[in-house]
């Protein structure tokens, strides 16, 4: 076998490498195209995320604290025990001390098991309660979301239709986003070992269904709709035009796509 390297041999080798490099991506593209064609995605085709803009609104005065939304979300999204994509908080504000001149006393907040199974009567006697109410919480789907900004691998992003999502194939489970969220809406999923959060039931809304919590809520405390494809008489448009709404922690500039009506100062 001739071990010496000839000019012809070297050129042939080089051509082979270059040819291989050029052919490989073409092969990859073909493979990807074939895989796309064969993929058995149950997701209906024809949904264009750039043609929708989802918004959730919550009416604090309508929430009765039954906890059905929390259970509906758990069942819909296989949320592990002790973790929540949505939960309900009970606020109890006591009466001010007589003669103190204050408008209110202390505030107590609890959320036993996220509100699953409803709320047992509170520990504060009824006669000491100035006011009390329930507040449903979920991911605020910020348009300028701190969680996407801190993700070191680009696994979390704001989709064109206004939902903050996690790409589970890219997430490395570092937990930066869980710490960055000012609303405490993210958790580490012990089953998938990735960050997890409310997706506004992305698999439902892209099929024309309502999110599980909105579907199951018995008192219409949750209103949901597509701002790009709704008429003024649709629930979401009626709600937004007929109420003063606000996002949580507006001073952080996160621009939440989850709006609250009837919110008290104490809710953060």
């Amino acid at each position: 076998m001739n071990e010496t390297m000839t000019r012809r041999g070297a050129l042939k080798g080089l051509a082979g490498i270059v040819g291989g490099l050029l052919a490989a991506p073409a092969a990859q593209t073909c493979k990807a195209a074939v895989q796309n064609g064969l993929a058995t995605s149950s997701a209906p085709k024809g949904y264009d995320p750039t043609q929708h803009k989802w918004l959730m609104a919550l009416d604090v005065n309508r929430c009765i604290g039954c906890g059905m939304c929390v259970e509906a979300c758990k069942a819909e999204n296989n949320v592990p025990d002790d973790h929540f994509r949505t939960w309900i908080e009970r606020y109890v504000i006591t009466k001010p001390a007589p003669g103190s001149g204050e408008s209110r006393g202390e505030t107590f907040v609890d959320s036993p098991n996220g509100g699953i199974g409803g709320f047992k009567p509170g520990l504060i006697p009824k006669e000491d309660v100035l006011k009390s109410f329930f507040v449903p919480k979920l991911c605020n789907q910020c348009e300028s979301s701190p969680c996407s900004q801190v993700c070191p691998v680009g696994a979390t992003f704001e989709s064109p239709d206004g939902v903050v999502l996690v790409d589970k194939n890219y997430c490395i489970g570092c937990g930066f986003c869980i710490q960055a969220c000012p609303y405490g809406c993210r958790f580490f999923n012990p089953v998938t070992h990735t960050a997890d959060k409310c997706t506004m039931c992305y698999h439902r809304i892209t099929r024309g269904l309502r999110p599980a919590c909105v579907e199951i809520c018995p008192s219409q405390a949750r209103i949901f709709g597509d701002l790009m494809n709704s008429k003024p008489e649709d629930p979401i448009q009626r709600f937004i035009s007929g109420n003063t709404t606000q996002g949580l922690k507006a001073h952080l500039g996160t621009k939440p796509r989850v709006r609250y009506a009837g919110l008290d100062d104490e809710v953060r």
């Binding site: 490989a24 593209t29 604290g65 039954c66 589970k168 194939n169 809520c217």
Partner: protein, 149 residues
């Protein structure tokens, strides 16, 4: 002017590194990256790719339009069928699958009185409100303003 050999070597090395970077990038970045923004566009498809658990009121309406119509005439108009009747996907796929019978707990869960509940909601203390009788003896769940015959 002849370029010094160490400069030529540096230039070649730089070109090799830059080429290596672009080659690696070409192979490693997924095709759908950047479709909508600085993330994988296919991630949207993957997140969509799961079956809904709750069937939804509109699905019930396709067969039980009479009940849905009756429901929509009174206070319970905003209720979804599955709020009380439970997950119905199995029943939608095979109508012979029966949904569980409803019990007292379904009514009390929302209508038990609580100081935290808003005033517009009809609330009762189950320990004092006609104890021992069934809710449905006096109230029609699909049309709460009606009294059963």
């Amino acid at each position: 002017m002849k370029m010094p050999p160490q400069i030529i070597r540096l230039v070649l090395l730089t070109v090799a590194i830059v080429c290596g970077y672009f080659t690696a990038r070409f192979f490693l970045v997924p095709a759908s990256f950047g479709q909508y923004g600085h993330y994988r566009g296919d991630a949207l498809l993957e997140i969509r790719d799961r079956e809904p658990f709750w069937a939804g009121r509109n699905t019930c309406d396709t067969c039980h339009a009479d009940h849905v119509l009756k429901l929509s005439k009174a206070e319970h108009k905003g209720l979804s069928c599955e709020t009380c009747h439970g997950p119905s996907k199995a029943h939608v796929e095979n109508p012979e699958v029966q949904l569980p019978k409803l019990s007292y707990g379904q009514c009390v869960r929302c209508h038990e009185s609580s100081p935290s509940r808003p005033a517009w909601l009809h609330q009762v203390n189950p320990l004092k409100h006609y104890t021992g009788q069934k809710c449905t003896e006096c109230h029609v769940p699909h049309q709460p303003n009606e009294v059963p015959p």
